[in-house]
Symmetry: C2
Subunit: 463 residues, 2 copies
Amino acid sequence: MGEGPRTAAVMDTIRRRIGSRALAPGDRLPSIRGLAASLGVSPSTVVEAYDRLAAEGLVRSRPGSGFYAAGPVPPPGLAEIGPRLDRAVDPFWVSRQSLDADAATPKPGCGWLPAEWMPNAALRRAARGLARADDAVLSYYGGTRGPLALRRLLARGFAGEGLDIGPDRILLTGSGTQAIDLICRFLLRPGDTVLIDDPGYFNFQALLRAHRAEIVGVPYTASGPDPDRFAEVLAAHRPRLYLTNSALHNPTGATLSPAVAHRLLNAAAAHDVTIVEDDIFAEFEPEPSPRLAALDGLARVIRVGSFSKTLSASVRCGYVAAREDWIEALVDLQVATSFGGVSPVAAALVLGALGDGGYRRHLDAVRRRLARARRDAAARLDPLGIRPWLMPRGGFYLWCRLPGGRDAASVARAALRDGVVLAPGDVFSVSRTAGGFMRFNVAQMDDPRVVPVLERALATAGD
Amino acid sequence: MGEGPRTAAVMDTIRRRIGSRALAPGDRLPSIRGLAASLGVSPSTVVEAYDRLAAEGLVRSRPGSGFYAAGPVPPPGLAEIGPRLDRAVDPFWVSRQSLDADAATPKPGCGWLPAEWMPNAALRRAARGLARADDAVLSYYGGTRGPLALRRLLARGFAGEGLDIGPDRILLTGSGTQAIDLICRFLLRPGDTVLIDDPGYFNFQALLRAHRAEIVGVPYTASGPDPDRFAEVLAAHRPRLYLTNSALHNPTGATLSPAVAHRLLNAAAAHDVTIVEDDIFAEFEPEPSPRLAALDGLARVIRVGSFSKTLSASVRCGYVAAREDWIEALVDLQVATSFGGVSPVAAALVLGALGDGGYRRHLDAVRRRLARARRDAAARLDPLGIRPWLMPRGGFYLWCRLPGGRDAASVARAALRDGVVLAPGDVFSVSRTAGGFMRFNVAQMDDPRVVPVLERALATAGD
């Protein structure tokens, strides 16, 4: 008697699972009753299928304990895959290595403060407040722009910087990166050119590649992008967007000067380029510096930011401030691609913590602590011949030149083998001309392993 | 004496803000000291600029109270814009109207349960637990796949459905929609064809349009997509993806039969089509039904879901279960486009609430309550001549035919004028052949305004 179509289907199901490694050799097969229920067949059909597969040698039965996958079976189509233990040093390198490193790994290459530097007391109070919030806050998707109270608080902060806009021109998002991603979806078509700083934040490259954009770089100087090169690149490449950090530029820690800011805006206007200003490090500034968004009044500048650096990276909340018609289009895109916007629970935690009396004092203390940490880190790196390109006014980055033309990628690979995550220069450089630089996070340098590992890695990488 | 370049720049700044309506007529100009600081110029430069603008008539000074924008000024390039009060009845219509409606508006068209139906006590306990969590949970981005404990809990649930995979094949995301969006970024190129159910969840259309995909539909029957048409469409259009809900299909509430499931998988295999199975309503099922993901063992099926319908839409957390190599690629895409993955705070709240002893009992109670609500809603709609296409086994939707060939979009527009948000059939239909249907959320029908408004709207829409 041949097998019926249902038995054949059950057998195919198990064959596929073994073929795709969903069932590895030695794995127990699903229970007969369970599989029967989920496939909508009778238990006796499953028994029949398992018996036939056992006859084929694909599974084994152990009396009293059920059926197991035999094997090994070559995994069709998966042979080329495998865990990417030896990732290329590309724009994902720093993020993947630092996000997935375990808690004990020193991470001078990462882009965040140690947890004990963060305003955890304010966040805990906000979480207790959340436990008493209305059912609606706990349950619902929330409005498409995000809670009005948080948008109002942001608008008041912008007014203090000379940017006067109403809360309707602010859209809350799931993160600063998501905000930029929405803008790219709105303004870019595949093949469009986007201008970024060189060096600049590595994830801008990763994000723009996901949008299939052409990326061109402009050299970053101690007072912002080189304005002559900026104008030349605009004329030569006609980019659709320019994506930058103004205050405490990542990775250099440099600050845009007023004169450069004016020249950038004039050049952008002449070539009809939209500017996305990611202001994620703004709160680390000792005093305000020029902002493209404030100078321009959000005509062609879009301002983006988040709370990940100063409040919490775990509570995901970012924002976009832009022209009203653009915000309306971004709302549609956010609904289409995330359904709701920001989590109302996340917004409630942010609002609670920002409104906490301790938050401003906490920020003042963090700024002072970072000033000391910048000096200490520079003093510890100096004996290794590692020198800051400039001493930033604020923030947690030092962009440093390595001694003797060492290749930062080789140094970073050697340090990773010793369990330390670094941020080699070329991941920040679209032209890959920053191979002699390394970005250090001064708040992540206290572990006693960091300097010895770095010293050994420099020696390994040779001259 | 002519104005200096800095004065001119300040004047340009204010002109642009007025031109873009950042400063509306009558708005107070930024304070002199504030603008001077943010533009990096001296206060006297700002005074000079304001005086010159006053001389031009663009601003007015009021003695003792500062400077104000005069106006009106035509807003360049913004003339065609405006609040979209009269939105087209398109795939965004239901989401925008229901997400942004105020709390008191009855929303039988929306896609969620009333807040008082949700497990708020479990969520409040989870929020109190969060207030005591480690600093790391409150502060850090977290690992790229999301917290292991929650992925393990999901894997145990999948095993109970006959899908045996390890937690490494699960990626947590910011929402179920974000999970599908990541998959589309990974698998689609602009112009690729994607197959969806007709009728089917409206936001799939919005999402696919954001990816510039060509959309084709397959008629949905009481036991799943019509398998003959499915095979024909695969042969004729060669879609890259098929995007569907299996259990408690949205909007019809129908359930995929085992026979149809097998035929779909065979046809998909023959044409090398990847299937995305969005299982967001699974927990509302009275007993498990066939799952494409379980039948296929995640070889060509990708399973997607979230906790938005049963636990909280505010705490944003979704997931993808897929082939290991695909998960690895999706991780990179999620880092590029959101930086971190799911919020660790959100994952902690979900894990706390799912692990809460009350959650299973709560779900049982909700399923019983929904069974009553389905019957009650059908009984209330019956006198209006509104009849369910079928009576679903679970969930909160009734897909109903309107009487006398009424146009659902006209009925929905009339009801919206009376303050009730409905879900007209054509927003669910890529072929726009569901104009005589309406989706009702049976948990949102208790408000006494709903039936009278509906009755009036039916009368207004005429025969």
